[in-house]
């Protein structure tokens, strides 16, 4: 059971993760990750998220399929927003349910690491002083985080 959504609207992490356990008594562990827009010490006004419609959904689905192949999980939810996002707002969430905690932790971290480097989204900053902060640059740390799953 996997849910993948790419949307402009905010989402409710509780309701989304709750769907993984609703009416079930066979789930042992749920790990959720929520990524939020930081205000960068007051410098940021808005984060503008561009995405590649169609490919964004497909790529997230591919990443979810990889996680499902690699770990024994019961359910996965991945939701990623695009468009204008204000400080304090949610950008992305992943939730994973499984029998035991190890699988849920690994799969959730894998999903985030892969999503960061593989899913076609790009962030641009609009600063509080009215200027553009430019496009956020890809971080080497993110590439390394994704690479570690190949060695593992």
């Amino acid at each position: 059971m996997a849910t993948v959504r790419v949307q402009a609207e905010d989402f409710d992490p509780v309701a989304e993760a709750g769907a993984l356990t609703l009416g079930r008594t066979d789930v042992g562990a749920v790990v959720t990750f929520t990524g939020l827009c930081r205000d960068e010490g007051g410098l940021l006004d808005t984060l503008e998220l561009e995405h590649y419609p169609g490919m964004a959904e497909r790529e997230l689905e591919r990443i979810v399929a990889q996680a499902e192949e690699r770990w024994s999980v019961q359910g996965i939810v991945v939701i990623h927003r695009y468009g204008a996002i204000k400080p304090g707002e949610r950008i992305v969430m992943v939730a994973v349910s499984s029998l035991h905690r190890g699988e849920a932790f690994c799969a959730a971290e894998f999903l985030m690491d892969y999503l960061k480097t593989q899913a076609p989204f790009w962030k641009r900053q609009k600063l509080a002083d009215g200027t553009s902060g430019g496009w956020v640059e890809g971080k080497e740390a993110d590439d390394e985080a994704a690479e570690k799953w190949k060695r593992a």
Binding site: E50, Y52, R58, H80, V92, A119, P120, W122, K123
Partner: protein
């Protein structure tokens, strides 16, 4: 085939998508970037550092040595920064 551009690649080129018809001699992604660069300054700017450019053919990531024959949609974009 259709070329699509995202983020600063799109901004530098000045539009998000266009129909392109490279000659048969252009066989792979790297060759296509070279061919695009010859189209004008805005392309030269977008592809000034080709090795940082990520490419997808029909919405699947590919390397620069991927063949373009049969592609319906080729996307060019910077390293992704979602999440």
């Amino acid at each position: 085939m259709k070329a699509v551009y995202f983020a600063w690649v799109r901004e530098r080129i000045g539009h998000g998508d266009e129909e392109i018809a490279p000659p048969d001699s252009v066989s792979d992604v790297a060759g296509l970037m070279t061919w695009l660069i010859a189209r004008g300054e805005q392309y030269a700017h977008a592809f000034e550092n080709p090795k940082v450019i990520r490419v997808a053919i029909d919405q699947t990531h590919v390397k620069h040595d991927a063949k373009i024959a049969g592609a319906r949609e080729i996307a060019f974009f910077p390293p992704m920064t979602g999440g």
